[in-house]
Amino acid sequence: MELTFYIAAAVAILATIMVITRYNMIHALLYLVVSFLAISVVFFTLGAPFMAALEIIIYAGAIVVLIIFVIMMLNLNADSVKTEEEWLKPRIWVGPAILSLVLLAELIYIFTASDMPASTVAAVDAREVGIALYGPYMLGVQLCGMLLMAGIVGAYHLGRQKKKVIHRFLEKEAAQ
């Protein structure tokens, strides 16, 4: 069980590194799916099987498919890969990477220096999560519903194409 966690963690980190270094967007998304699947395995080893299923369904399923649809709508070609390669030069990424790695070193120091109480591992199944979700966290569930509603309305409003007010014959004249 412990070895499973460490292997899945290594796969997740490697896949995420591949995501952030790809030039081609679809390749990055494929590695992103691998990363989400590895994190789902991590959830399973940590005793959260329902969350592992949700991770696969919503992250690896819905969100990645949504991004793929948008990439297909934008109709990107080989030129965009070349542009991406120009945008991501070592001169650009070295500085932020070093500063962020300093932050990571600090986090590692905090986790390893503090003495945490001993772990009592027991699987928390979906039943307990459901009871907590619809008991003390009822308000949060309702707020989540409102957030999703606002997301739907906002996405529709932003994604709507503007109606053309100019007639197509006039448009041809205006182009000339």
Binding site: M1, E2, F5, Y6, I13, T16, V19, I20, A28, L29, L32, S35, I39, V42, F43, T45, L46, G47, A48, M51, L54, E55, I58, A62, I63, L66, I67, V70, L74, W87, L88, I92, W93, P96, S100, L101, L103, L104, L107, T112, M116, S119, T120, V121, A122, V124, E128, V129, A132, L133, G140, C144, L147, G151, G154, A155, H157, L158, G159, Q161
Partner: protein, 102 residues
Amino acid sequence: MNGVTLEAGLLLAAILFILGLISVLIRRNIIFMLISVEIMLNAAGLAFIVAGMHWAQPDGQVMFIFILTMAAAEVSVGLALILQLYHQLKTLDSDAASRMKG
């Protein structure tokens, strides 16, 4: 049962979060920045799950469900914004959208 420590789980979450942060900082393509935000949100959810495992409480998983909902709403609105931006500016360069004109 298993010997996965709190430190190991939190370390994984921290590494994934830092990778997402690096990607947000170094990328100019706006879709890649959105993907990186997803990675960071996922890492935050992982930290909640690890903490819930450590104290054997369901609250961590409840928070993960809330983060999941937020990520779904965020990515739909974000992608709609990206579509509008691409139609207006004909590029995915985030620097091109630095000036708001009406």
